[in-house]
């Protein structure tokens, strides 16, 4: 990590910490959801972006995490922070187990298998033998946690800081995981399965573990989401949620850690903008946004920013020499785009 990146991260963190103090509670709540989605998207990105396995069912893990938190809080009086650990552990196991048979499936077939998980989840949650815990169609209402130690914050602000802290931990963990041996193995499996195996990578183990870790991230996000929304119901976790997650990682940038944040901002705010533009066809407007993003930023927001930064850095370096020679600059740009 170079010095400039560290400064950027520090500034971004400071801005994130200052945010709840300057905006309304409603905005704080929205940004809490952004942080929640960012964790979920990072989980999916581990699986899809880094390991090349497509999942259309991550909404199901989000739901499991959410219900785990809600049931533990509502029926067993477990403190909210402890439910995150339970939700993460449960989803890790479920994800790993689901990943084992799913290993035999490649590409689109895996997508279909996970799709099946995603579509069935809302109905499973309505299953009447589970009703005494899940509340059936009615769902479960939970209480919003108050700030501890008499901190001078309101519950929205506290939940935002709590979620931010969890997100930072999760991001650092992912970054640590991905920058070393494990990360290289994941990417090698994605890029050339056979070659990775020939290099001695245990692809079966890595793939199911990735599935488990990915599900764990999404499950923790689900638990945080449930605490922020204060309500879970089967209708909250339909298949569209899974597809939204996939949209989020592609828009944010595949195989990019900060991409999860950009993607989260997109899935949180763009549907609202679309709704404000047209009540008659909000999804058509959303579609136009989506097309626009895909067309203008083919590598996601993270990819576009990377290109932009690289260009600025080079301009700064070559500044004095090329400033007066636009032709030279142009050649450089086009060569870069080609690369």
């Amino acid at each position: 990590m170079n010095k400039r990146t560290l400064i950027f991260i520090a500034v971004a963190l400071l801005a994130a910490c200052a945010l709840p103090l300057v905006v309304s509670n409603y905005r704080v709540f929205q940004f809490t959801l952004v942080l929640v989605y960012a964790i979920a998207l990072l989980g999916l990105n581990l699986l899809t972006g880094y390991n090349g396995q497509i999942s259309l069912g991550h909404g199901a893990f989000y739901a499991i995490g959410a219900y785990c938190a809600a049931i533990l809080m509502d029926k067993f009086g477990v403190p909210y922070w402890a439910t995150l650990l339970a939700a993460g552990a449960l989803c890790l196991v479920v994800g790993f187990l689901f990943g084992l048979p799913a290993l035999r499936l490649e590409g689109l077939y895996l997508a279909l298998a996970t799709f099946a998980l995603g579509v069935s989840m809302p109905q499973l949650l309505k299953y009447h033998h589970l009703e005494k815990w899940t509340g059936g169609v009615q769902g479960v209402v939970i209480v919003k946690p108050n700030p501890p130690f008499g901190l001078p914050l309101n519950p929205d602000q506290w939940l935002y800081y709590f979620t931010l802290a969890v997100m930072i931990v999760m991001f650092v963990f992912a970054w640590n995981l991905l920058r070393g041996r494990v990360g290289r193995a994941l990417i090698a499996i994605r890029d050339h399965h056979t070659a990775a195996e020939a290099m001695g990578v245990n692809t079966a183990l890595y793939k199911s573990l990735t599935f488990g870790v990915s599900a764990m991230y999404t499950g923790i996000a689900g638990a945080l989401g449930a605490i922020a929304i204060q309500f879970v119901a089967p209708d909250s976790f339909n298949i569209f949620l899974s597809i939204t997650f996939l949209v989020g990682i592609v828009i944010g940038g595949l195989a990019s850690i900060p991409g999860a944040i950009y993607g989260a901002l997109f899935i949180q705010f763009v549907p609202n903008i679309a709704d404000e533009i047209s009540k008659a066809a909000p999804w058509a407007i959303f579609g136009i946004f989506l097309l626009g993003f895909v067309y203008v930023m083919p590598f996601g927001v993270a990819g576009a920013i990377r290109l932009l930064m690289a260009r600025i850095a080079r301009k700064a370096k070559n500044g004095p020499h090329t400033a007066g020679a636009p032709m030279a600059g142009k050649t450089q740009d086009s060569s870069h785009t080609a690369g």
Binding site: V141, N238, Y262, L265, D275
Partner: protein, 400 residues
């Protein structure tokens, strides 16, 4: 790590929009000398988007009210958001309406899941969640949720009324009940049993089905073999059609009560077979604008003129548009009654003080009544019987 987080801050900053508006001293937030801000949440997208037209027809009616000079001189500023029938989105939109737009109240949020999701928040914030668009009975709970109120006759009321009718006309009936095994089905069943009171032993057989079941044939066989001669059919449209057909084809032919949820001729009776539906008994509370009997009724004529001028794209055959028009009038009445005291508390108080309020859209004899302990505006319905072509009203208006 080469990628940077820096642009996140820019996006965050850009995502922040206008700051909240300051409220006037005399009123609660959302009300002033000039306007009354009314929030609404509707599924304009998603699985229930067919209901989105309710939000639009309400908006069209408020526009008409504003063109006619507003309510007590104040214009209605109607802000309606899409929740796509998703509870988390409903929470977000409710918070946006209350905290950012600072509406006086949220009117007609649609769907039981969405309303369940926001109920606690609305009551904690003490903002009216007024005339919600769902038939569940739990919205009538002024003790625990004094800021939430329903509107349409709830499931328990309807079940209660069928029970009353059976007690009056066939006191020796043996009743079989088929119900959907969820909160909706149980709500109806509870009302029905409350209506039977001490005589719940008239129910000789009670069977349920799951929404995921392919058919209800085996349940119908059980009911028939129980010796029941009266059938209360608590099912959603697909299963209602199956049950009606099976009850006829098997030769059972009981006295058949069908819940209002599945009273639609188009989606239930036609698939079941109109000849097999003769004699079905159900309920109504609003006029059916497509029914020829009401073709020259002043309310339906009014509505047609309104639709033509203010909502020309709206479908005249869609009962939801009629419903939206009707429920919006109820709110306007409450606002009129509130006069210049436009606090949330007073609006709720006025909503709970509707006395024999007659809505022209409602069937003759059906009035809205509320009190501090009764948050169920419509509590009476009209029984109707299917004659093979259409529903025909019979008997008196019945109430709880």
């Amino acid at each position: 790590m080469k990628r940077t987080f820096a642009p996140v801050t820019l996006i965050v900053a850009a995502a922040l929009a206008a700051s909240p508006v300051l409220a006037q001293k005399k009123y609660d937030p959302g009300a002033s000398d000039k306007e009354i801000k009314i929030g609404n949440i509707n599924p304009y997208s998603g699985p229930a988007s067919a209901y989105g037209t309710i939000g639009k027809s309400i908006g069209a009616y408020f526009k008409k009210i504003n063109d006619d000079g507003g309510v007590n001189g104040r214009k209605i500023n109607y802000i309606s958001y899409d929740d796509g029938y998703s509870p988390p989105k409903a929470v977000e939109m409710a918070r946006k309406l209350v905290e950012q737009d600072e509406v006086l109240l949220i009117f007609q949020p649609l769907g039981t899941p969405s309303n369940s999701a926001i109920q606690k928040y609305m009551n904690a914030k003490k903002v009216p969640q007024l005339f919600v668009a769902t038939g569940a009975t739990k919205w009538n709970d002024p003790k625990n949720f004094p800021w939430t109120m329903g509107w349409q006759p709830n499931y328990q009321t309807e079940g209660y009324i069928y029970a009353q009718h059976i007690l009056k006309n066939t006191p020796n009936a043996k009743i079989g009940v088929l119900y959907q095994n969820d909160d909706y089905g149980k709500d109806y069943l509870k009302g029905f049993k409350d209506g039977l009171g001490a005589k719940t032993n008239m129910i000789v057989k009670e069977v349920s089905y799951e929404v995921t079941d392919p058919t209800v044939d085996s349940q119908m066989v059980q009911l028939q073999s129980s010796g029941a001669d009266t059938f209360f059919n608590i099912t959603t449209p697909k299963f209602a059609a199956m049950a009606i057909r099976k009850a006829y084809d098997s030769g059972w032919k009981p006295a058949h009560y069908l819940n209002n949820v599945s009273a639609s001729p188009g989606s239930v009776l036609v698939p079941a077979g109109l000849d097999k539906s003769v004699g079905l008994i159900s309920t109504q509370y609003l006029k059916d604008p497509t029914d020829k009997a009401w073709a020259n009724d002043p309310a339906v004529l009014d509505w047609n003129a309104f639709m033509k001028k203010y909502y020309p794209d709206g479908n005249l055959a869609d009962a939801s548009n009629f419903y939206g028009w009707a429920v919006a009038q109820t709110l306007v009445q409450v606002l009129k009654q509130s006069g210049d005291n436009l606090t949330r508390e007073n609006v709720m108080k006025q909503a709970a003080s509707l006395k024999d309020f007659v809505l022209s859209a409602a069937l003759p004899g059906i009035k809205i009544n509320t009190s501090a302990t009764d948050f169920a505006p419509f509590e009476s319905v009209q029984l109707i019987r299917f004659d093979g072509k259409q529903w025909v009203r019979f008997g008196e208006v019945m109430g709880k």
